[in-house]
């Protein structure tokens, strides 16, 4: 390798969804001739279908690029991509730990968003050099001066020499590349030190075993080296090393500052943990690299296969996903209504949705999902404290001394016109006002302490609709507080459906009970007999509705000999039945299990 360690630059890009990170990454790839035009498809880094569809980055990617700088030297860049959404803070901290600098991309018209802020703070925590880039200066609404001011006021970094760019039109890209060379420091490790390489991601390949994405922080690694995982003490022999350019290219050696991949016939997923440090078995390093800021799940839900035969497939799918997403947690759960499945923990709602979609798409397993819930702390009359993450397991009222629920500090950034509506939503969601700051004339940061369960419920949707989509939003756990909470059970035809139980504040219980009874009446199709729907607290019925018995279901129309149409109709009916769960004598469609969530407060 001709390029000296001093000429290596490891960086990532921090940006809010839609602020143009992917386009910028593509322009950088073009400028550095990483890809031939033929290979260049739009937005190379967002490889997963799901990412492309949703326009967000979920999994990290690392690409090695060669850049000939104006000073005549060749430089080696490693661009490590970061997810933009708050639910993926864990992954962001992983990728930032592999870098020395970051490009902060801010939309010239929209300014800084709450989620970007969270990631910038993470980068500052990691001591990264930050280069501000004001993107989309070509937009008619662009206001560069205001955005500069904002970067200084809100983040506290000097924005005087922020780069003005339009990734779409290729403006400012050269300056960005030069500034990466001049502003971002080279990796600080030394090649003669004992080897330390950080695993920042991994995936499983059925032929090669685990493929670990690594960043070499100290020393070097060669093919054939005996390596040791510092957390597990397991040893392996390196079978392949390489970098992404962005296509994988094998190398004999990776040295300080290099970012790439490693395989070593690691068959067991648990032996290559993300965040672990790889060292050499013969000359091990004394201390592992500092791990990551580990995040615990905040939202739980039950995942059940529609076809009970798929239970084992679902477990395998979760094992695979856990491999490079250690924030995903799961344990077996049995529901009377839904059979065998898993209770899974997620960092947030988007994380939950993404995992569900990946299971359905990549593993082809149809899922029934129960409404998400948070973890409640329950102090029993025996003074014992237990955690409840499944509402149906909430102990009976007479054994409970106190129920505590998680609160989050929610930071909502919004144009000042919307202060009223935002505060109204927060108050309605049992929030406590904490703070409000004007960022500039037009925008405010509103801070509220709100129960997480209210956020899980429909906070996002309300915030979006009440602010015409202008609000951006971030939250972090602020602690547990006692609340007057009760468990509500739902009975269909006199039987409690455990998967429909939920926990609700007593003040809202009556209203919510009524809503859900009505909603279920509409969602559950008529059966052969009348089905009473009841919402109960303890043994007390607080709301009821009735699903009337089916009275007629026959297609009389002739369709002029169009038998295929009749057949399709019958097949659809049969298929629909298959997707329903038979609980007792009642057939319940999948949507019903999520119904607790999707209610309009009107």
């Amino acid at each position: 390798m001709a390029i000296k360690k001093e000429n290596v630059r490891n960086f990532s890009i921090i940006a809010h969804i839609d602020h143009g990170k992917s386009t910028l990454a593509d322009r950088i790839l073009e400028k550095t001739k990483a890809l031939t035009d033929r290979e260049m498809k739009e937005q190379f880094l967002d490889a997963m279908d799901l990412e492309r569809e949703r326009g967000i980055t979920i999994k990290l990617n690392a690409v090695q690029l060669k850049y000939g700088a104006n000073n005549g030297d060749d430089y080696l860049f490693h661009l490590i991509d970061t997810p933009g959404h708050v639910d993926f803070t864990y992954e962001v901290s992983r990728s930032l730990a592999a870098c020395e600098g970051a490009l902060l991309v801010v939309d010239a018209a929209q300014g800084i968003e709450a989620q970007t802020l969270a990631n910038v703070y993470l980068a500052l925590d990691n001591d990264l050099e930050i280069i501000p880039v004001i993107n989309k200066i070509d937009l008619p609404g662009a206001d560069v001066e205001r955005v500069k001011q904002e970067i200084e006021d809100v983040i506290g970094i000097d924005a005087d020499d922020a780069i003005l760019a339009s990734a779409k039109d290729g403006v400012g890209i050269d300056e960005i590349l030069e500034r990466i060379v001049t502003d971002i420091p080279a990796p600080s490790g030394k090649s003669e030190n004992p080897t330390k390489a950080l695993i920042f991601d991994s995936l499983y390949d059925s032929y090669r075993g685990v493929i670990a994405y690594i960043c070499v922080k100290e020393g070097s690694l060669k093919v054939g080296d005996e390596i040791k995982m510092m957390q597990t003490d397991k040893t392996f022999q390196v079978s392949d090393l390489g970098v992404f350019t962005p296509n994988p290219v094998s190398k004999e050696e990776l040295t300080v500052g290099d970012v790439g991949f490693l395989t070593a016939s690691i068959k067991n997923v648990g032996d290559s943990r993300v965040g672990d440090t790889i060292t050499l078995a013969k000359q091990p390093a004394e201390e592992p690299l500092p791990g990551y800021k580990r995040l615990n799940p905040m939202v739980y839900c039950g995942l059940f296969p529609v076809e009970s035969d798929n239970y084992n497939d679902l477990r395998e799918a979760l094992e695979r996903l856990e491999l490079n997403d250690s924030s995903l947690q799961y344990e077996a759960e049995t529901s009377q209504a839904l059979g065998f499945g898993f209770r899974c923990g997620f960092l947030g709602l988007l994380h939950m949705e993404i995992i569900q979609e990946r299971i359905e798409r990549e593993f082809n397993i149809e899922l029934i999902t129960t409404a998400p819930s948070v973890i409640y702390e329950v102090e029993l009359t025996t003074d014992e404290v237990i955690n409840i993450e499944n509402p149906s397991l909430m102990p009976e009222g007479k054994n409970v001394k106190e129920v505590r629920e998680p609160f989050v500090q929610a930071t909502i950034m919004v144009p000042s016109d919307f202060i009223g509506p935002v505060m109204e939503i927060c108050e309605k969601k049992r929030g406590n006002y904490v703070d409000m700051q004007y960022l500039d004339e037009h925008r405010v940061n509103i801070v509220y302490d709100i129960p997480l369960s209210e956020i899980v419920y429909d906070f996002f949707d309300q915030l979006k609709s009440q602010t015409k989509g202008y609000a951006s939003f971030d939250y972090e756990l602020s602690g547990y507080r006692a609340s007057n909470l009760v468990k509500m059970d739902i009975l269909l035809n006199g039987e409690t459906i455990d998967a429909l139980s939920f926990i609700v504040h007593r003040d809202f219980a009556f209203h919510r009970g009524k809503q859900i009874a009505e909603k279920l009446k509409d969602l559950i199709p008529r059966q052969q007999f009348e089905v009473p729907v009841q919402a109960t607290i303890g043994n007390k019925v607080i709301a009821r509705s009735t699903i009337k018995a089916m009275r007629k279901n026959v297609l009389s129309k002739c369709y002029g000999g169009d038998i295929s149409r009749k057949r399709k109709l019958l097949e659809k009916q049969k298929e629909g039945k298959k997707r329903m769960k038979m609980v007792g004598k009642v057939e319940i469609p999948q949507e019903a299990f999520m119904s607790v969530l999707e209610m309009n407060d009107d």
């Binding site: 009337k548 279901n553 026959v554 297609l555 019958l570």
Partner: protein, 386 residues
Amino acid sequence: MDRSVYIHIPFCHEICHYCDFAKMYYNRELADQYLDNLNKEMKLYIGEQKISPQTIYIGGGTPTSLNEQQLESLFETIHQYIHVDQTREFTIEANPGEFEEGHVKLMREYGVNRVSLGVQVLDDEFLKMLNRIHGVNDVYQTVNLLQQHDLTNISMDFIYALPDQSIEHFKRTLNLALDFDLPHYSAYALQIEPRTVFHMRHQQGKLHKPKEEDEAEMLWMLMDMMEKNGKHHYEISNYAEKGFESQHNLTYWSNEEYYAFGAGAHGYLDASRYVNLRPVNHYNQALEQGEKPVLHRDKVSLKEKIEEEMFLGLRRKEGVMDGIFKAKYGLSFYDLYKKEIKRLTQKGWIVDSGNQIYLTNEGLMFGNEVFASFLLDEQLYKQVFS
């Protein structure tokens, strides 16, 4: 006997708000072209050798939207390919008030022996809401006209569960209808189909269907009133005096093959179900290039054929006979459906007499549930047939 023949005439002077069949506004030149192409299509399928089907059915659209000259040319075409004198039942659909004596004379002359009138409802307000072209008075005049010319084998089509229709309202229509004392009646519950005016109104929340309870009540009442007047219920939507059952429709329910000619028509030939091109100009183009105007053709597998034998057969009051089933498929339907038959019998939805199964009135109300039970489980099917 050769296979039955269906011919579609897609033209109408007015488009009904509920209709989703292949149809378009009548246009004289286009209708002339269409009739030429109909002739070409029949030639492609039948050739020079005339066939002798048991039934012919001209449906629409509105066959009586054609002028006399065109109607005659249609009949000429039919006679060119079919021995009509050997046909047992030759039906034409007709709109009340839309045709004159000349049309009726042509029908008689060319061997039509059954007329199916699209009456739908006997209330001028409701007819207007459906965008029907006729009024109640036209119905009386048309029946008279037909009977004067000795066309007495008349059927009337009705639609019930119309928007805002009450049970009482439907009863009035039924009473008026039965006063005609015709040999055959059909009644269909309104089905709101995509790409219709009704569908659009329904989406907008401007159309209110009767409650499911009321619709069920209407069907019970309909069955009761028909039976009391000697029109026995021989198929889910059809009622007739003995000997006047529509032979043509029975070929569908008996799972037999049939020819279909015309735009958007559905046929069943050589173990394949097919549908013709639906837009009239596409249909015309194909035939002008000498091609069969088929949009789509599906081979019916043995499994599907068996399922259809059951769910179509059960639409008939007499149901499905195991003897006929055995003769067709070489095994008993109990080999395939023992469990389902037992379940449905216990529910009181079908009667199992040991060699025949048929719907009860209760089962008829839930016909789709019964029919769907006869879609075969893939594994079971393989087991029985391996």
